[in-house]
Symmetry: D4
């Protein structure tokens, strides 16, 4: 077999990417399996592999057929389904997420922002954080904003707030002008016409007049959840540390 | 002289554009002379021509040298100077603007939006409208918004509100969500980085969640003033008509 | 039940957004239900909820199946269907729109702009305005423009004109150069190649040489109708006020 | 001397680009020397070289100092100066342009479009065409359009019309909808805010509803003149040929 | 019936746009019916209307079902089918296009550019021009260019050349550098990645180093054909006039 | 004095924006005075006003003349100068920043990113945080990265890392893939050609493969500092609270 | 038959583009048949034509039906199938690729980049090069990079490395900073939100801080393979030449 | 001294970035000092440091004052000046570049591309390559291309060709279609209007129809030189190796 033949053979034998089981350990952020571009069989296999490797598998953008397969296979044991973002979590018994004490608030400007916000919520929860998600707070009618903000700040005492908004993307700036915790802007691809795939929302957040706001990319609920979780857990760690020291 | 020679001669003899003296009459909107790209002598000549033709000349973006020349020549008679937008108005005696009864409110998000907002204010005033301009209302600190809005709506009973904003461009959406008069969004080229030449502000306004908002181009204070003046004067005309009928 | 469990439960129990029944009262602009991304059952439920809450439900982008369901359920009582924009209105008996006396003209450059223009027309009508819509006025052949403009200005005495145009977006500038009422430019996503999703039309309108023109986003017929309705109703209010005073 | 040394030497000895004296002969379009980025001395040398090589040198964007130098050196013999576009032409005696009979009309929407339009006019003239340039025809006030169009079509019987416009770029579409000769759209960088460097004008022309319009790049007066000259000269050639055949 | 009711009724009774039968007479350019967004029945009706009104109907982007219907209905009398651009022409007997003597050459860079180029060819033919279309001339391998160019220039003596190209859009510049007739660049949406929807091709043509090139929008074969036809017919008219004078 | 006259007067009497002295108290983020667009006199006045109102004034982008004036006036008492970002701080005696215990690390990819990074550092310091800034860590030569990262994580135990990078913007992704604290990407306008004003860096950060990274706008050092300071102070507050409880 | 009739006939008789059998000979790069837009029958015919003309046919983006047809027809003789990029190669017996000795390394940042990378690999192999492709090297976790780089440089001694990456596009810069062979950046359309169709990756590579990196367009695996193959074969030619001289 | 004071002190004591003396050794590509944004004194110091550290300093974009200072200080010993790109090289005696035998050809489309092309040439030369640079080859007049291409391929037997082009960027595609060595496209910021800062040229090169072309960013002459030098030296190494083996 010539060197060239070996190379050719080699090309068709490239192994599938090995899952990075250790990311949660190394980074504190769990890996999410994007299920929509993989077939049902392959997605089931990867999910099983993660379940075995880490005790948990999180699948997002789950198609109907896969949802049924997951439900049938794991429905009796540890299966959770989040409808808005089409996320499924399967979990080995005895591997419940350990609460960290981190506290995250999430607001959405409209109901269309809910799926992306839910992604962020799930990531934070799987990182052990308490999450409060309030939907449809709007900017066209600011009277709807005061009650949930008070809830998040005074009652839930959140460490960070994610604000998801499409269209004009104005809500994160408005919120960031009012609160003294870090705010993560999560632009969504809700809109129409010029700037309507989330660009207007993203740019408006990048141009915010209100200091204390950083952003992630359009529809990147996972990314917003990851950094919010890290921020909350950093504060929680300090709280736990001091509690433990006593 | 050959046809071609005549053509060549013709090319160097093109007359300067004749000013459209009749626009105010036809459209109800006065013409503004952009003074920054014309030399002092030529600008003085055009101003004199308008003064003679229509009783008034409005010059915007006036350079220092021209401002001095205008002040010297017309300072004693009918010269007005607006510093923020560098606008000068000269006026023949007995040609004061006749108040129409139209009522226009103007808000700016920050102090940097003032020059453009002042342009809009001047156009509205020269169309005979009452104008209330409130600066630096901000979106990062909405507490500053309530008082001026109450003033405009309850006390001044404005027919239309222009909201000038750069950066995140969020203020017009916030205002439009709260009031029941038409709102004209006036994006300004205040900002930095991506979208910082006013694109973010413009797009955010175009994507507004709050119905009842239309926009003009970035820094187009004249255009915002023109449409707001037309809106206010349409309502004022109805008020005057009925008053006259009695 | 631990705090984290409660949070998780909470995530799946977020209530649907409550409809803002009071917007028409607060803003004078009715809410439109975008029906294309909701299932038939859910859309029917929301429609019924609005019908009960406000006496009227307006649904746009209605799919075939939903149109049939609405027609079957409400066809006998108060059902209206607008084919071009696929808009349905259902109405409780005795809740006909009260005419305000506001007067709105709408022009389209081509037949493809009709669906978006119809959206604007419906919003204005539901705000109580008289609406005249003239289709296919074109800019390539200005001879077609004079007759409808004369109709709108001299006969209908409209308070404001919406001009819908895609492609080169030239018609609103041409109209605004000729009339003395405010003009709302409504760019549509009709076109091809560079700038063909409405960007060329939008930008051309933003760059208009003719003062008195403001714009809404591409295909935003609802937004154009809302501001035009507010403008017309402001003038109409003055007319009614004076009439009532006598 | 090593090969590498020779290469290095070679790098500093690259000859200046040889002027393409034969382009006019090959293409029928004269070469224009862009003078603004060359020093006075070098520009004078290149001009002299063209004068000797082809009997003519055309310099555009001529700085003050160079204008003075050219005027001093050639003012007595064959020097022409076009102020708007800062173009200078020097000509050897006995080398006047031979009229071809081609006929070109040029319209500008506003006075700011004049410098670019003049460039186009000069190129056409130097290609032997008769040129009629009418300035400031506007789109905001179409009443100004009829007279010059009638002049160009009925009296001058032009073979092609160049229409220069910035801002909304609407005029070329309007003209192309009315005439039956080819129209060349010449967008100019006149404008402000979004699309204000000529992009809106260019895109609007590309999206024209009126067939029979092609465009050149923003501010490319030379390019517009070149193709218009070729179009007119093609028709003129046919006219001459038939005249000659008799 | 109240005024408002009349308005509502009016909204659903807007007549379909009347076809502009007179455009060919006025402009010399025939109207093309875009058939893909109209249903078969409506397209058949419009085609019949044009056939009756002008003796000819040209339909582009014809779907399969409509093609069959047209073929069945008109196949025996005057039906022509152009497969690449899916264009159908139906023609009343005795209404063949009268040759004008205009001469148009069309080159495509690749086979994928053929459908758009065919559109241009059909428009030119229906304007009475002789058309020579040469496909797949390429820029990656210029040896393929000489033969067709020689054919077009020396044998066919074309008045104008349309060059259709996607991807790098280099061919029109190369051709325009070699010929002395006007060239119309026709960018096509052939490509991939950045600039791959025709923007790279369009921009490259706008930036051409070779004078004598103007462009139309991406995939605008009809527009390219219209202006090329006007150019060629202008020259042909001169040739005919002189022939007729003798 | 007529209403209109009053309005006009009003227009020239708009007060300067009142400084928001309370922002630091409300948000925990100090206000920064952008000094480059204000004259020396006005900037000195605003600085004095802040000094009196809050005990401190921070001026960024300070021109030479203002720097000299500040140094002369406050040099003896409490004047600090940061050369890279041209930032000046003046401070009333007895108003030193109280350390919070928050800990922030800052890395720059290249030396050109230093001015923007220094802005971020100053904001964090003025919020009471400890700051470690390491310059010129590079991505083209990752061997330079390990040492500073170890310093930040193991020795300084920072709560958050700001990574400033222009050009390819790759460093924040690389860092975020390696650490378990939140990372704030700070794109800078360092670069050339396409994407060279910071767009490439910003987009690359928005597209990061490494979860745990959020971004601020190009060159927005103040914004990066503000959110990093809030994150670090949230953790520090927890540490202090627990320390205080004991 | 009139000239016009001949032209019309001519239009429907344009021959299919003749395949450029000689490209491999002339350029050293084989032609790839894009199969997805051609029907099965036509693709089979073209493949057969190439097989006869050059002894080999390479088809990419092969649809299922065509894959089956190719497999049935050529499966017994010389059929190869590459699943990730859906590429098929058929080969006449005795026409195996002659190894050149060129050596190419290919890295991908993630598994989604594999199909495009495989295209590049196939082109290099068909140009006679040895190819080593290593998948999923990542930038978020650089520890995965060292081993494959060592393999490529020390063991395989590659002449050039192709690095395929989507999203942040950071890997090629990182690699180019570490190696001393030329690197070809191959951006892929993997991503989301702003810049997510490969623009962020492309721009980041264009802005690389690490000298020695050039790029091809997004998803242009064939182009990356072609230039890498040329580079490697140039070096290989020198190695062979010297070997042959002995 | 408190921790915070130390941090503050630390901020003003950040050392200048240490030059990466070892890059040439590690990468085979020399570092270039961008001199235009550094003051004369600092640039002289850095140059001296490089001269001492590596025996050579290369400074690009050298301002007049610095050029004089360098010439005065090093003019007698080892000073070279390249006028077009304003590049200076100073060299310690006995440190002449060792020829590698690598062979690079460089073509420019126009004279304006020369400065960028010269940068590339200098980098290649300093990497030890033989360089042949031919200016002003043009695409508008391909007859000028054959002679230099023949020289490069047949006589100089170059390993790689850099093609610098602005405007339409067509030349690299044309060249790549004709030669069998790798081609590096170097777009320059020469142009006007849409796409005129090099974007059109860059995109056209990215969209090339001709395989075997990769590109660097706009005006990145250094980057083009670096990869071309690496390619040529890879081939040269093989030639030397074989020569040495004998």
């Amino acid at each position: 077999m010539s060197q060239l033949d070996k190379a050719k053979t080699h090309l068709n034998e490239i192994p599938f990417a090995r899952p990075d089981y250790h990311r949660h350990h190394r980074k504190g952020v769990p890996e999410i399996i994007l299920a929509d571009t993989k077939g049902t069989d392959r997605a089931m296999a990867i999910a099983a592999s993660f379940l075995e490797g880490t005790g948990r598998a999180i699948l997002s953008r789950v198609p109907d057929e896969l949802a049924r397969a997951l439900s049938e296979r794991y429905g009796e044991t540890g299966y959770e389904w989040y409808a808005a973002s089409r996320t499924a979590i399967i979990r080995r018994e005895g591997t419940a997420v350990r609460p960290t004490g981190g506290r995250v608030g999430i607001l959405t400007a409209g109901t269309s922002d809910q799926p992306v916000a839910e992604q962020a919520a799930i990531v934070c929860q799987e990182m052990g954080c308490f999450v409060r998600l309030v939907n449809d707070v709007g900017v066209a009618g600011l009277h709807r904003l005061w009650e949930p903000l008070t809830q998040l700040l005074d009652e839930d005492r959140v460490d960070v707030i994610i604000v998801a908004a499409g269209m004009d993307g104005a809500l994160p700036s408005v919120v960031s002008g009012l609160v003294d915790v870090p705010v993560i802007g999560l632009p969504t691809s809700v809109g129409y016409g010029m700037g309507g795939k989330g660009e207007a929302a993203l740019m408006s957040m990048l141009q915010t007049c209100a200091p204390g706001l950083a952003v992630v990319n359009i529809d990147n609920g996972v990314g917003a959840g990851a950094i919010a979780g890290l921020i909350a857990n950093r504060a929680a760690e300090a709280r736990r540390a001091s509690a433990g020291e006593r």
